[in-house]
Symmetry: C2
Subunit: 156 residues, 2 copies
Amino acid sequence: MTRAVRAVRKKELPEPGLDLGVLPTLLGYHVRRAQVAIWRDFVRSVARGRIRPGLFSVLVLAEANPGIAQFELARQLAIDKASVVALIDKLERARLITRRRSTVDRRRHGLFVSPYGTRQLKLLMRDIARHEQRFRDRLTAPELQQLIKLLKRLYD
Amino acid sequence: MTRAVRAVRKKELPEPGLDLGVLPTLLGYHVRRAQVAIWRDFVRSVARGRIRPGLFSVLVLAEANPGIAQFELARQLAIDKASVVALIDKLERARLITRRRSTVDRRRHGLFVSPYGTRQLKLLMRDIARHEQRFRDRLTAPELQQLIKLLKRLYD
DNA sequence: TATTGTTATACTCTATAACTATA
DNA sequence: TATAGTTATAGAGTATAACAATA
């Protein structure tokens, strides 16, 4: 490409400094970008990408609430109960969780983290801690508290 | 169900007050929940769900940067150039955007918002403003500025 | 009748690889 | 050789509808 053409292109086509228009004035834009940044770091650094944030949440909730029913998980994650089935299938195939039919209400399949799952969760938490730290390092302690407080305000 | 059974279930199965375990200590958890809340409100309230946040971003970027190339869009949105094609296809079918081959570099398809697209974007902005306002109402002006500043810190 | 879990199906958003046309 | 756009294909993640088992 000639020098003249390069000059023309500079005029005709927008280059490095892109105009973001109205986007930076929108709260949703910034929340989205922060979420994407954190999501990618999570996938890159936790369990070699084999456990995504969704599966991790399920594992934590099942560990904290032994015997939790799938529809309760669905409600907490704000997804349909049908969508939970695939998540649990995956965790069960990985031997991290077991379904046990409730003797009290036989429609329910209580979820229990296996001993192996508990051990794996402990290992996972080490990756998570490092992942978290990378973002906390960008904030002071009061800033972190303030940020969480304001985010809660958006979804509570 | 008998009264006795209800009592047993209360012991055996976790109910309303779910234990969230370690989740509330994680920054990513709160960012994710805020993002989901904003996303859902966007889909519910903007263009009757026919324009999602992704398409909206593309439209705004094309309007602010007439002739922008698809690979530049891809870089800005941090997605693959192949993924941009489907987005542009959709916007072109909706007559909001046109591809025009660059005369300078014939590999590039410059993107231009159509006059109709510009009008639609203006209408869209009214929905967006109301959507934004619903979340801004939960914060004071200084809190909003602080929140944006801290979110930027996470992805910059 | 209502609830819990499941299957079947489909849609959105994204990625990778291989291709074309241009540079 | 490298770049811009495209196609084909696949994999998450989600939804809806219909169903079986159970309450």
